[in-house]
């Protein structure tokens, strides 16, 4: 018997359990579910204006068909030492905030300005000048002189940034606040999630962002082990639908529990491989970024410890799609 034949025969002794697992087929939609989806799409059409929306959302699944075990709620801990060393970390009235994202007015959208602000041009989310004004709520404080606030401000922001601290309209200031630059052409949103409790993805993505309803654009970028973002591609057509289905499915995923006092995310922090980021821009301008690890994990960027494990049958097609997108 040649080595080749012997190897082929050896595969024939694979575990019964693995063979049986391989027989499972990815479920397809039943006729009944198709009908439900079409009805849902028609109802949605009466609410949503625009033919393109009708096309896109009619393909969204109501029920992805996956079931997940009950899990215990997880309360997000205080930012760890690593987070507190981040640039743009600060405290207000005892609450610790970390940077969520920067938003730039259209007038600030130029490569020169991006270089000046030390941000990558493709990471910029433009917000119309009008919208810029509508987005922010009331001024809660003004930081014109950071050194005097040493007891409240930590990190290298101290003494380097000043401006008015705004609430974000419609969002509890305990969760989000925004710092508007003196130049008035950008603002930075900060988030404070310590103490919030989540059980499933919906507790975060829907309760706080209404992501499936409010997402108007999704962009994909590659995140390197050196924390550098490469490229940024907008997902359109079927790919947008695929990503929205994925986000919908996330709502049902349980938030992973801590293991041995730490998170699996922390163990993966120094991951050597690239990851993908799905940047979901909401109607109100906020961007929710979901980082997807090659091991099949997803977490909301800037909310360390809140992450979800994807079922293989969901992760593999998604990763494949993103591979294709970024290879183009």
């Amino acid at each position: 018997m040649t080595n080749r034949d012997m190897l082929f025969r050896a595969v024939g002794t694979a575990d019964d359990e693995l063979l049986e697992r391989s027989e499972l087929q990815v479920s397809t939609w039943s006729k009944k579910r198709w009908i439900h989806s079409v009805v849902a799409a028609v109802l949605m059409a009466t609410v949503l204006a625009g033919a393109w929306r009708l096309y896109l959302f009619s393909a969204l699944e109501d029920d992805p068909g996956y079931t997940f075990p009950d899990s215990k709620p997880m309360t997000v801990p205080e930012p760890d030492e690593w987070a507190m060393m981040m640039p743009a970390f600060f405290m207000i009235d005892g609450r610790k905030y970390v940077v969520q994202d920067a938003y730039y007015s259209e007038s600030a959208l130029s490569e020169e300005r991006a270089a000046q602000l030390k941000v990558q041009f493709h990471e910029i989310y433009p917000v119309s000048d009008d919208f810029f004004g509508e987005y922010l709520g009331e001024v809660t404080d003004v930081y014109a002189d950071w050194p005097k606030k040493k007891d409240q401000l930590v990190g290298h922001m101290e003494g380097t940034v000043s401006g008015a601290l705004y609430t974000v309209k419609g969002v509890d200031p305990k969760l989000f606040v925004a710092l508007k630059s003196e130049d008035l052409d950008y603002f930075i949103v900060y988030v404070s999630v310590a103490g919030l409790t989540f059980r499933t993805g919906a507790d975060l993505l829907e309760n706080y962002f209404h992501l499936t309803e409010n997402c108007r654009q999704i962009r994909c970028s590659v995140f390197t082990p050196g924390h550098e973002r490469l490229y940024s591609v907008e997902l359109s057509g079927d790919r947008f639908v695929h990503a929205m289905n994925f986000i919908r499915m996330l709502n049902e995923l349980k938030i992973r529990q801590y293991v041995n006092g730490t998170t699996e995310y922390e163990e993966m922090r120094y991951e050597k491989r690239n990851r993908y980021i799905l940047s979901c821009q909401l109607k109100n301008g906020l961007v929710v970024e979901l980082v997807i690890y090659p091991e099949g994990y997803v977490y909301w960027y800037h909310c360390h410890g809140v992450y979800m494990e994807l079922p293989e049958e969901v992760f593999t097609p998604l990763w494949s799609m993103l591979d294709e997108v970024m290879a183009e």
């Binding site: 018997m1 040649t2 080595n3 080749r4 034949d5 012997m6 190897l7 082929f8 025969r9 050896a10 595969v11 024939g12 002794t13 694979a14 575990d15 019964d16 693995l18 063979l19 049986e20 697992r21 391989s22 499972l24 087929q25 990815v26 397809t28 099949g296 293989e312 049958e313 593999t316 097609p317 494949s320 591979d323 294709e324």
Partner: protein, 185 residues
Amino acid sequence: MEEKYLLDLFFQRDERAIQTVRESYGAYCRTVVNGILNNEEDIEECLNDTWLRAWNAIPPQRPTNLRMYLAKIARNLALDRYKASCAEKRRQGTLEITMEELAFCVPAGETTESQVQAHELERLIGTFLRTLRPMECNVFLRRYFYAESVAEIAGRYRLSESYVRLLLSRTRNKLKKYLVKEAYW
């Protein structure tokens, strides 16, 4: 429950056992054999040999998963029959393509006769499969156990054919490295 009943028939040497396994598992074993043999006559004979082999092996053996036990017997018998009857034509056979892919993982042209080595290889394969991600393992087994086409696998898991090829290629590379690391070759 049905498996237990069937095994009891085997142990009681009740000849209804053969008829019953044919009815219960005939279709499944046929799909396994179908990937290897193309000739209906060969397939039918192979299945009959499978029931006979099982009849002779049970007892003393008492498989924990009768369906998979029969599938493995059928697969091995189909391979024997394939090699015996199609030797001169095998260059054109689809199974030959499948086996050629897997040949990438082993040194070419060498022949190993040792039974000990064969058992060691089986053990290594079993361990290797456990190291794979579920979808990698599934795709690998559909291709190299069931000899399914790339298109069939892609349809089964709703993946693109190019992605299935990519997964298979990655997994073969892993297997090759694994066997070298374990100093098998």
